[in-house]
């Protein structure tokens, strides 16, 4: 545009130039106004209720504060040191990690096999998919209440085990310190397995049937086809599932809070139940804020690293912008 203007002979009249410049300026102003109108509400909402609370928490975490009165008792990083050196919080981090690792080791193979099963041409497949997915739509609160009742000593689960001759397996599912975490993991698996199955089913639909047929023609067994053709193609879906599953495991709260309150004797405390227990129930808001910030940092660091090293190729567009 500017090139066109400079090559114009200086003597030639330019009657429309000022008017054109005016409309362009006006239209640029208009675009700015439109952008402000479109973006501001979302930015205000996001800043006011996502970014500010996080910043405020980081500030509170440097004080010893019971939630009332002014912040006067500056303690630096003491809250962080106290939390990280406490047995209960260390135990909580351990429990979150156990749940995360178990999810990957147990739920992932289970989800993959179920997805492959449901991808076959079985009669009633649509119904089966819906059934598998149903627990995922229930809230964790409802799930917790259901299983709390079923796992009562002498309750449904115990009676069914006895009826099929497995009475020896009966345990104090939620009251035995060495078992409670695994009981909770089983309930988590019941609730969330459908989510993994649905994700993987969608991924399987992206595996062309021709590839499998070609592998079969080349004499590959069905296991070899699965191992060397299907699984690698499911890679992106599996990596996304692992990401969501680990982040979910790190924030585990509702189920644990309703079923055990982190007990017995802190045997099922998670970082989030510890956070609510200390920050909220005991009015240690400075300390609780420090725990919240630690939880943030753990999730954030995991997300960044995972993003950087595992997900990069897969979610281009989802987290890294439109390409």
């Amino acid at each position: 545009m500017s090139a066109a203007i400079t090559t114009r002979p200086p003597t030639a009249p330019v009657p429309h130039a000022p008017a054109a410049g005016g409309t362009r300026r006006r239209s640029r102003l208009r675009t700015r106004l439109e952008l402000a109108l479109l973006l501001t509400p979302a930015l205000v909402l996001f800043t006011g209720f996502v970014l500010i609370p996080i910043g405020v928490a980081a500030y509170y975490s440097l004080y010893s504060w019971n939630g009332f009165g002014p912040l006067t008792d500056f303690v630096g990083l003491d809250n962080y040191a106290d939390a990280l050196s406490g047995d209960v919080f260390q135990g909580a981090i351990g429990h979150n990690l156990i749940i995360a690792v178990l999810s990957i080791v147990v739920q992932l193979p289970l989800s993959i096999s179920l997805a492959m099963l449901l991808n076959r041409k079985l009669r009633g497949r649509a119904f089966l998919r819906m059934v598998v997915f149903a627990p995922y739509v229930l809230s964790e609160a409802v799930t917790a209440v259901i299983w709390l009742l079923m796992l009562q000593p002498g309750g449904f689960v115990d009676e069914v085990l006895r009826a099929v001759g497995l009475g020896g397996l009966v345990q104090l599912w939620l009251a035995d310190q060495s078992i409670v975490l695994y009981t909770l993991f089983a309930v988590i698996t019941w609730k969330y397995i459908g989510f993994g199955v649905i994700l993987l089913l969608a991924g399987l639909q992206g595996v062309p049937a021709e590839l499998r047929e070609a592998a079969a023609l080349d004499g590959a067994s069905s296991w070899q086809t699965t191992r060397h053709v299907v699984l690698p193609l499911l890679g992106p879906t599996i990596r996304v599932w692992i990401f969501l599953s680990v982040i979910g495991s790190l924030q585990l709260f509702d189920l644990v809070w309703i079923m055990t309150l982190g007990g017995p004797a802190n045997a099922s405390t998670t970082m989030a139940t510890y956070l609510v227990d200390h920050g909220f129930k005991r009015y240690e808001f400075g300390f609780g804020s420090a725990v919240a910030v630690i939880l943030f940092i753990i999730c954030f660091v995991f997300a960044l690293f995972y993003q950087r090293f595992a997900l990069r190729r897969d979610t281009e567009g989802a987290l890294t912008g439109v390409r």
């Binding site: 979302a42 996001f46 996502v50 405020v56 099963l117 076959r120 059934v131």
Partner: protein, 271 residues
């Protein structure tokens, strides 16, 4: 091949059993008396007792919980989708400096799950005087749903051909008119997906309402179910009836929106 299918059907039956039996336990347990349940936890109702369901369904508590949950979920979904769609439009159909920066800021929100941020949010809401207020739950839920909403809507709106926009502008439509009359209707599938996601998130959310609401008349359904269970530990049958009724909205919604929801989830992963 037939043997493989036999194994397949057996596995399918096992899966159905594992999934459905706990749900049946709840629904059928509601038709029994607590004495029957205590005597034989895995028994079937006989004779059917309607009292539990009748009592729960006629108590104002259940309906109030349902109403509170619905109000909060509708406000949160509307806010997230309306503001998210506006922002996604700006970030997909305008060119301006800092566009990618704004987008990166919103995507940052994906790394801060609402559950983790709840205690700081509680302190902040207390400072704003928004405790015991449905908006104190709905607005933060909307704020935390914005990132997913924008991340799903932006590529969708981006992919709508520019020729449509040029044609609309040539016909004298303003850019905002194009947004309202052409882009939004064309984005319907993606809008439904993000609405479902925001609605379900809000409907099932437990931790924030737990902190924000102290007065049980403000409770949402997940809080109410947990409260009802802890208040009626001696009356298992009634707890089961209450739980069964509280599952109905989510399961109905799920049956209606299943295809969309599944499509939405896979869509969100592919970005």
């Amino acid at each position: 091949m037939t043997r493989r299918n036999t194994i397949g059907y057996l596995a399918a039956f096992a899966v159905i059993g594992m999934t459905v039996v706990p749900l049946l336990f709840v629904v059928l347990g509601g038709f029994r008396t607590t004495a029957q349940i205590n005597a034989s936890p895995a028994g079937l109702p006989g004779p059917f007792v309607w009292d539990n369901y009748a009592e729960v369904a006629t108590s104002p508590v259940f309906w109030r919980l349902l109403g509170n949950s619905a109000l909060i979920a509708v406000i949160a979904t509307t806010l997230a989708v309306v503001l998210g769609a506006m922002a996604a439009f700006a970030l997909s159909r305008y060119r301006f400096r800092g566009r990618e920066g704004f987008y990166a800021l919103f995507t940052l929100g994906l790394l801060f799950p609402l559950g983790v941020a709840t205690l700081p949010l509680y302190l902040w809401l207390r400072q704003l005087g928004m405790l015991e207020n449905p908006l104190g739950v709905a607005i933060p839920e909307a704020a935390f749903s914005l990132p997913v909403t924008i991340v799903i809507l932006r590529p969708f709106m981006h992919a709508i051909p520019g020729e449509l926009e040029d044609a609309a502008l040539l016909d004298g439509a303003a850019k905002l008119g194009f947004f309202w009359r052409i882009l939004l209707p064309l984005s319907r599938p993606a809008l439904i997906t993000v609405s479902v996601l925001a609605f379900v998130t809000s409907w099932n959310f437990y931790l924030l309402p737990l902190l924000v609401f102290n007065d049980s008349t403000n409770f949402t359904l997940p809080l109410g179910v947990a409260m009802f269970q802890s208040e009626h530990t001696q009356d298992t049958a009634k707890v089961l009836a209450f739980t069964a009724l509280s599952m109905i909205p989510a399961l109905t919604f799920f049956v209606l929106a299943e295809r969309r929801m599944v499509g939405g989830l896979t869509g969100s992963v592919k970005g």
